[in-house]
């Protein structure tokens, strides 16, 4: 019997399936019935059944061309383009004048080629770690290098003091030492959770610094004013260590060195500038390539991906570079679970942690930055309440006084790059937090002079002094 498939509605296809099934019970070796039922299954989107029937039809009659057609269509629908291509090839060979077959073959061929191309690109981009291709052990340090070296492969107090002095004199750390630091700090950071939780005892205090942006001489000044990091003088640097300033390499190697020296008392959180996009545009990538190599920049990029995203002190104070979230209901547990070893996505909690800003008005708004959001005091209030926290500390925005307290004290901004970009004339600030009361105590400081860096690919570009 014949059924006109050209005008079937779904119900009719279902009927067709029913009738062909009955027919096949009576006559199980009929290729045409299988083929037609296959078409009915295609029309009702039962692609698995359609494929099974088409295959069966061809088992019965390998010369049944329609069967190859049906099988190809089924495979296309199932995304098995290579298999489909084989069958289309068969049809085209047997029916060289069939325009429809030829067209379907060409279309399928295009898709197969496209997918092969995509696979090839994807496998190029799967990054093996730079670490695998490094042989740090066998890197030699030339005899004429008189700069700081790790002691038995370890960062020591003496090494840190020498390195900071070396950097102050605008000298370069030997690449072997830089690689040693990077490889070790990568391993260290990778073991940390995305939300770091620490306890500050009553007698203990911690210093929280905001953005430093490659302003090495101002970083040295912070250590001069507030003391070098140690077990009894813990620090937290809240992201944006690099870019914009001309001494990003010196800043980051110093911070990483201290992280290795005092892993439990020196904390680093990721900022939005610890990402590839920002580094490419705002100087860090150029600086690393100029002072070292592209490969070293690759390693920096990998290390940045392992930086934790937030830190909680005594279950009361939460610190992150950007701010709170584009939606309500995010818990500390959500933060713990973030898989951070990546470039931040365009949206979501990981993006918000690095990018959002507080706003004075209630609710949320689209961010002026074009990424993430702005959040109001009510958002902060709800988040703190839900997570039983007292307040948040964040950075990310330059402030004339180096810090700002908003949202009735529940949202604190701290920024530690004074006279940002050599232009803004702002103060820098850092926060003292004592375990006894957990109330933020603000300390301000002004910019110190720094050497005029010789025009280099990375440096002078961002030193344009306005319009001329």
């Amino acid at each position: 019997f014949l059924i006109d498939f050209s005008e079937q509605k779904n119900k009719d296809y279902e009927n067709a399936i029913k009738y062909y099934s009955e027919a096949l019970e009576l006559n199980p070796s009929n290729a045409i019935y299988y083929s037609n039922r296959s078409l009915a299954y295609l029309r009702t989107e039962c692609y698995g059944y359609a494929l099974a029937d088409a295959t069966k039809a061809l088992e019965i009659d390998k010369n049944y061309i329609k069967g190859y057609y049906r099988r190809a269509t089924s495979n296309m629908a199932l995304g098995k383009f290579k298999a489909a291509l084989k069958d289309y090839e068969t049809v085209v060979r047997v029916r060289p004048n069939d325009k429809d077959a030829k067209m379907k073959y060409q279309e399928c061929n295009k898709i197969v080629k496209q997918k092969a191309f995509e696979r090839a690109i994807a496998s190029d981009e799967i990054k093996k770690s730079v670490v695998d291709s490094l042989d740090i052990e066998n890197m030699t340090i030339e005899d004429d290098y008189v700069g700081p070296k790790l002691e038995d492969g370890n960062v020591t107090v003496k090494f840190m003091e020498e390195m900071m002095e070396w950097f102050k004199d605008q000298k370069k750390l030997h690449r072997k030492c830089a690689y040693q630091i990077l490889v070790q700090v990568k391993d260290l950071l990778a073991k940390l959770p995305s939300l770091v939780e620490i306890t500050l005892k009553e007698t203990e205090k911690i210093t929280i610094c905001g953005d430093t942006h490659g302003q090495f001489y101002d970083l040295l000044n912070i250590f001069k004013l507030n003391g070098l990091p140690s077990e009894s003088n813990p620090y937290l640097f809240n992201g944006d260590f690099v870019d914009r300033g001309s001494f990003s390499v010196e800043v980051i190697l110093t911070l990483f060195g201290f992280k290795l020296l005092y892993p439990n008392d020196f904390h680093l959180l990721r900022g939005n500038h610890e990402t590839d996009n920002m580094n490419q545009m705002y100087g860090f990538e150029g600086e690393v390539k100029a002072k070292y190599t592209a490969q070293m920049f690759q390693l920096f990029s990998e290390v940045f991906q392992w930086l934790p995203l937030a830190q909680c002190i005594n279950n009361k104070v939460l610190i992150m570079h950007g701010g709170l979230f584009s939606e309500d209901g995010i818990t500390l547990d959500d933060l713990r679970k973030i898989e951070r070893n990546r470039q931040p996505p365009d949206s979501g909690p990981m993006c918000d942690l690095l990018w959002s800003d507080p706003q004075p008005q209630s609710g949320r708004s689209i961010s002026k930055r074009g990424v993430s959001c702005q959040f109001g005091p009510d958002v902060t209030e709800r988040f703190l309440e839900q997570n039983k926290l007292d307040y948040i500390v964040r950075s990310h925005e330059v402030k004339a006084e180096g810090y700002e307290v908003t949202h009735s004290g529940k949202c604190v901004t701290v920024f530690s790059a004074p006279n940002y970009c050599d232009q803004m004339g702002n103060k820098g600030a850092y926060i003292h937090l004592r375990g006894a009361d957990l109330k933020p105590e603000f300390h301000q400081f002004t910019a110190v002079p720094h050497p005029n860096v010789k025009p280099m690919a990375y440096a002078n570009t961002l030193m344009q002094l306005g319009m001329m």
């Binding site: 870019d243 545009m281 803004m424 344009q464 001329m468």
Partner: protein
């Protein structure tokens, strides 16, 4: 003012002048980079700065975009209102490409004059001679086969460039008249980051001279403003470290002070806007386009920059052409119908 060319020794003021001349390179490289990124079109920049050079920060590119759009808007409006029956004098023009843009857009005034230090002018003339895309438009618009050309000046029917010291206004006046400056024509005077490098007394002379020389004219001045705050102070210090003195910064205290220097020197009307306001008044679709060209990480940097530069435009209108209606208050203009047909 004694002839600066007669000095033998290299004095402090020579150093200052040299630093001012160097700002020509800043403007050129910034514009070269910004145009290469697509902020606006300028196919002539490449003939003055061959390579694109190092990248500039996004806030700088946006700042130059606003400057160029603002200046061009006023200039083009003036030329249209006078139906090209006018002349333009670009003071401290540097390696500016406006003449070639106007030629291409069929907006050439009767004559376009450019003034700058002799060494800058010599450089520009050298480039013009070497590059056909620069020389052709000049030759095409000249009636005879030969142009008047020496080391520090080039004169043709429609384009004239003169090496001179703007602080020596009487010599400048002489030279302009020698090259057929027409005091009866409505005249547009432009200065972009020029007056701020000379003392208020020198810039006042220029402004006064312009008011005396032309009965129907507009003077557009782009430079710093709001300089008494922290950002302004830091800028002054930074530039001083580069031996660049903002000798005229006194007039850059506020929009009021920028307007006042014109109103007290014979100009009838004066208006001024800071570049933050100008930026918000530019066609927002194009602004959105340029903002997509490069991501800006810290908007505050752009805001501070824009708030510390202004465009001031002053007019006098004996011929009653309606010159004082030319304005950058673009949104307001479109909102008030009586003005629209005057533009």
């Amino acid at each position: 003012v004694s002839n600066p060319h007669a000095r033998a020794a290299f004095t402090d003021s020579d150093t200052a002048d040299e630093a001012v001349r160097a700002t020509c390179d800043d403007a050129t490289t910034c514009k070269r980079f910004a145009t290469s990124k697509g902020y606006w079109k300028d196919p002539y920049m490449q003939y003055f700065a061959r390579s694109v050079g190092e990248r500039k920060a996004p806030e700088i590119n946006r700042g130059y975009y606003a400057r160029v759009q603002g200046m061009n808007h006023l200039l083009d409006a003036f030329i249209r209102k006078t139906e090209c029956d006018c002349q333009v004098i670009n003071l401290g023009a540097g390696l500016d490409t406006t003449f070639w843009r106007l030629k291409e857009e069929n907006l050439l005034p009767r004559k376009f004059f450019e003034i700058d230090f002799p060494t800058v002018v010599a450089r520009k003339i050298h480039n013009i001679k070497k590059k056909p895309p620069l020389s052709k438009p000049i030759i095409e618009t000249h009636s005879t086969d030969s142009l008047l050309l020496d080391a520090h000046s080039l004169d043709s029917d429609r384009y004239c460039i003169i090496g001179a010291d703007l602080r020596d206004i009487s010599t400048l006046d002489q030279k302009l008249k020698k090259f057929q400056l027409n005091q009866e024509l409505p005249t547009m005077l432009l200065s972009e980051c020029v007056l701020v490098y000379m003392t208020p007394s020198h810039s006042s002379n220029i402004i006064h001279w312009a008011a005396e020389s032309f009965h129907t004219a507009m003077f557009i001045n782009y430079e710093q403003v709001n300089m008494s705050d922290r950002f302004g102070q830091v800028m002054i210090e930074n530039l001083q470290r580069r031996q660049c003195n903002l000798a005229g910064v006194e007039a850059c205290q506020s929009l009021e002070s920028q307007k006042e220097r014109f109103l007290k020197s014979g100009w009838e009307h004066a208006d001024a806007l800071d570049m933050m306001t100008v930026y918000s008044m530019l066609p927002q679709e194009d602004v959105a386009r340029i903002e997509r060209l490069e991501f800006l990480d810290e908007k505050e940097l752009l805001h501070q920059l824009l708030q510390h530069y202004s465009i001031c435009w002053a007019t006098k209108d004996k011929l009653n052409l309606g010159i004082s209606y030319i304005t950058l208050f673009l949104l307001i203009v479109f909102a008030s119908p009586p003005f629209t047909n005057k533009l």
